[in-house]
């Protein structure tokens, strides 16, 4: 089954994302900031990375850039979690190399639909 790396500094969001995806049969690994995610990503491989944008230590935009610079993550779908209010954040994510975004707040169904869109 496809493996997903879920990155968010908020434990409750992380739990929600992880719980939803695991329920749909995905293999989920959690990370609490960009730096941790990057380290985990380097020693494992994932089919999809879902990351929050505003995080301490390393934000989601930097994480996306860093991941894209790794050969193993050149084409891996990366989705950013963003709020409607931040239209420029969507673009910042895209410019850093993100595949797309999921608009917060979202419910589990929306999350699964979006994940399906990139994982097929």
């Amino acid at each position: 089954m496809a493996s997903i790396l879920a990155v968010d500094d908020s434990a409750s969001m992380r739990q929600m994302v992880s719980f939803t995806l695991k329920g749909a049969g995905y293999d989920v690994t959690e990370a609490k900031d960009g730096q941790e995610a990057l380290q985990i990503a380097k020693s494992n491989s994932y089919n999809l990375v879902i990351t929050d944008i505003n995080m301490p230590i390393m934000d989601g935009i930097t994480l996306t850039k860093e991941l894209r610079s790794l050969p193993a993550y050149k084409f891996t779908p990366i989705l950013t979690l963003t709020t409607e209010s931040s239209g420029e954040k969507k673009m910042a994510g895209k410019q850093a190399g993100a595949t797309g975004w999921i608009v917060k707040p979202f419910n589990p169904d929306q999350l699964l639909a979006t994940v399906k869109k990139v994982l097929g």
């Binding site: 500094d9 908020s10 434990a11 409750s12 969001m13 739990q15 929600m16 719980f19 609490k32 929050d52 505003n54 995080m55 301490p56 230590i57 390393m58 934000d59 935009i61 930097t62 850039k65 894209r68 050149k74 084409f75 891996t76 779908p77 990366i78 979690l81 709020t83 209010s85 239209g87 673009m91 910042a92 895209k94 410019q95 850093a96 190399g97 993100a98 595949t99 797309g100 975004w101 917060k104 707040p105 979202f106 419910n107 589990p108 869109k117 990139v118 097929g120």
Partner: protein, 688 residues
């Protein structure tokens, strides 16, 4: 979703604490962008979480605060004292809303609305106009189309953002009947082909009753990375809906791969590692482990005792006996280590208490028109969670007190040659098995004369009685003594300091004050690190074993009759080197029969509680051991002079003495209830 609520509440409250602290740290006029970023991030997380978990009211309110913070973060809004104050109020509102949600209470709608109004006013008056509405002029006049003709040509780099055209085809195929025609005219010769680039374009015919939004959604993420043209199948070609005119396509693609300079710059400053790896566990689980370890300690003590007896009884020390003793010694070491480690789980840094202070100082100094600089030291010093929870209120009171009575107004300070801004210092450190918290200010100090006059007026001190400076300062902890010239709503009703001392005493700690008039005062609180374990000296009184806390024992001596002296048969004093201490006969305090009246050659444990010394007469000194405290209040009821009980190795129960309590009890036993002239009162105090 319900199962995530608890986590959400916990992290939101933490986030609010962070916001509050950082807001207080914010240097108005010269704000640190990293600090603003941290505040913004907390608000942002709360907004995101509350939206996701269905707490719309919180999300809506937080959104307004977040917008304000976002403008500060982007530098389009100055950080003013006014906005910081409103944001602090917002933190309070958010905290109240979340508390109401988590505990099922009512929200104060009026307050929420009024703070939200303040926020909106700030945003409306100075802020840049609300984000220019993204007027997407989607003319959905083609809903009746039979289908769509889509021309889709990805830019060369599209694959590098992880967007796969094949997945888009699948997504389109789910909407309706699809027919695709690939255009490979751009494909270079194999030798020049870079497999990571995309060269193919498609003409897609999508048939069916499909809304244009659904078609557009498929290409939502790539609209800047491709040339896209969507036309209704049946309609004439004038109603073309084109997202990106082919002419500007190249430049927009270039923009897409050029990294924005703003993003990495922000990211590199976003480095502040305050988090350490931790897990969240319920306190009940920890307490259960602590309780079990407590039982383990008791069992270990019992085994040690029995093992020792067996080896002594047999007389012959076979190798097996030696091994048994060795094993028991090892067990003792391991048990002790487990116990220490488990106790540490409950320990939290004192910063949890200290972090409440900056807000308090901020609010109070504003209210009192004083200038105060707060310095905190030793925030990492750890102490037990329960002790921490209970020390919060006394600390708050002491801080209020220092600001209200201690630190003077800027004018007074300048007049007495001090700096305009006063300093309040909080310091915490470990000392022995205790944590010491010092709270010192460089204010006026305690006005001894006023305290003494007041005490004389209230009959606490006799007219001709002379007290040492320390004793006078100590009077401020006396119930009903307030020297504030006028009562303020900050402090000064005289109901505080005695409660502070009482609360600290109930934690097994002590508080004292040192003051130099005109230079300031220092309150020193000493607290045990944990309430669960105690190093005790076992003593025998008649047939009972009692535990005397080791921290309160100064020494143990054998009574010499030459040093005994009695005052009018009421109380006995003992001359210990150059001071006299009262003698407490444990037998009489606890109503047990003493075999002999004479004190000659009896054992006396010299103890100190609350700064007062006394000698307790006991029958025998037994072992020193660590005991697990079992609360008398939980299992029985509160008893004066006892702080708890413990179970000894042999299974018997031993009572733990509360030394200050015993000294107080002894005083009441030996002091006439009415004492108009103040003569001969408080023998213990005089002797001390």
């Amino acid at each position: 979703m319900q199962q995530f609520h608890q986590t959400f509440f916990e992290e939101s409250f933490e986030g609010l604490d962070i916001m509050e602290n950082e807001l207080l740290n914010l240097d108005v006029g010269n704000a640190d962008s990293e600090v603003i970023n941290t505040i913004f991030r907390s608000a942002h997380s709360i907004k995101g979480g509350s939206g996701t978990f269905g707490f719309t009211a919180v999300a809506e309110f937080t959104h307004v605060a977040e917008t304000l913070l976002d403008e500060m973060r982007d530098g389009i809004r100055q950080v003013t004292q006014e906005s910081v104050d409103v944001l602090l109020k917002s933190v309070d509102v958010m905290r109240a809303m979340l508390t109401a949600l988590s505990e099922g209470g009512e929200m104060d709608a009026d307050n929420i609305a009024s703070v939200q109004m303040e926020l909106e006013q700030l945003l409306g008056t100075e802020g840049t106009a609300a984000a220019s509405a993204n007027t997407e002029s989607d003319n959905n006049s083609n809903e009746n189309a039979d289908g769509w003709l889509i021309s889709f040509r990805p830019h060369v780099e599209m694959l590098r953002t992880g967007n796969d055209p094949v997945r888009m085809m699948y997504a389109l195929a789910e909407l309706g009947e699809i027919e695709t025609k690939a255009d490979i005219s751009e494909l270079p010769s194999f030798a020049d082909l870079d497999p990571e680039d995309s060269f193919i374009g498609w003409e897609i015919t999508l048939k069916g009753d499909i809304k244009i939004e659904d078609v557009k959604e498929v290409f939502d993420w790539v609209e800047d990375e491709c040339d896209l043209d969507i036309q209704p199948l049946s309609a004439p070609s004038e109603t073309t809906i084109s997202d990106t005119p082919p002419v500007v396509a190249e430049s927009s693609a270039a923009a897409a791969v050029t990294p924005s300079p703003a993003a990495p710059a922000k990211a590199s400053t976003a480095k502040k590692n305050t988090e350490s790896a931790s897990i969240r566990v319920g306190i009940d689980k920890v307490d259960e482990i602590i309780n079990l370890v407590g039982e383990l300690v008791i069992t270990q003590a019992m085994l040690g005792q029995v093992g020792g007896e067996i080896c002594n009884d047999d007389g012959h020390s076979s190798t097996q006996m030696e091994k048994l003793l060795e094993g028991l010694a090892q067990l003792e070491r391991n048990t002790r280590e487990i116990q220490e480690s488990v106790m540490r789980i409950r320990m939290l840094p004192i910063s949890f208490v200290f972090s409440r202070v900056p807000r308090l100082v901020h609010d109070l100094s504003g209210k009192l028109n004083k200038k105060v600089n707060l310095v905190t030291l030793g925030e990492g010093t750890e102490l037990d969670k329960t002790v921490m929870e209970k020390i919060g209120d006394p600390m708050v009171h002491l801080v209020r007190n220092a600001l209200d009575h201690g630190i003077e107004t800027p004018e007074q300070r300048v007049a007495s040659g001090k700096e305009e801004t006063g300093t309040l210092t909080l310091n915490a450190y470990h000392k022995g098995g205790n944590i010491v918290i010092e709270l010192s200010d460089d204010g006026a100090g305690i006005n001894k004369e006023r305290v003494l006059n007041k005490a004389r007026k209230n009959g606490l001190v006799g007219e001709n009685e002379n007290l040492s400076d320390d004793a006078i300062n100590d009077l401020i902890f006396h119930p009903g003594l307030s020297t504030a010239e006028t009562l303020s709503d900050v402090s000064g009703r005289g109901v505080g300091m005695d409660v502070v001392r009482k609360n600290i005493k109930s934690l097994g700690g002590s508080v004292r004050v040192d003051s130099v008039e005109g230079e300031g005062a220092t309150f020193t609180i000493q607290l045990p690190l944990t309430l669960a374990i105690l190093d005790g000296q076992l003593v025998k009184v008649a047939n009972e074993t009692f535990v005397v806390p080791l921290v309160s024992i100064i020494e143990s001596i054998q009574v010499k009759s030459a040093n005994l002296s009695g005052i009018a048969g009421k109380a006995e004093l003992y001359k210990l080197r150059d001071e006299y201490i009262p003698i407490i006969r444990a037998h009489s305090v606890f109503g047990m029969n003493d075999s002999t009246e004479s004190l000659e050659d009896r054992l006396m444990v010299v103890v100190e509680g609350d700064g007062k010394k006394a000698g307790i007469i006991v029958d025998d000194l037994l072992a020193q051991q660590q005991v697990v405290i079992k609360s008398l209040e939980t299992n029985y009821q509160r008893v004066d002079g006892l702080s708890g009980a413990t179970i000894l190795g042999d299974g018997t129960v031993a009572l733990i003495l509360d030394i200050s309590g015993v000294i107080d009890m002894f005083k009441t036993l030996n002091t006439p209830p009415v004492n108009p002239d103040g003569e001969g009162s408080n023998i213990a105090e005089q002797a001390a």
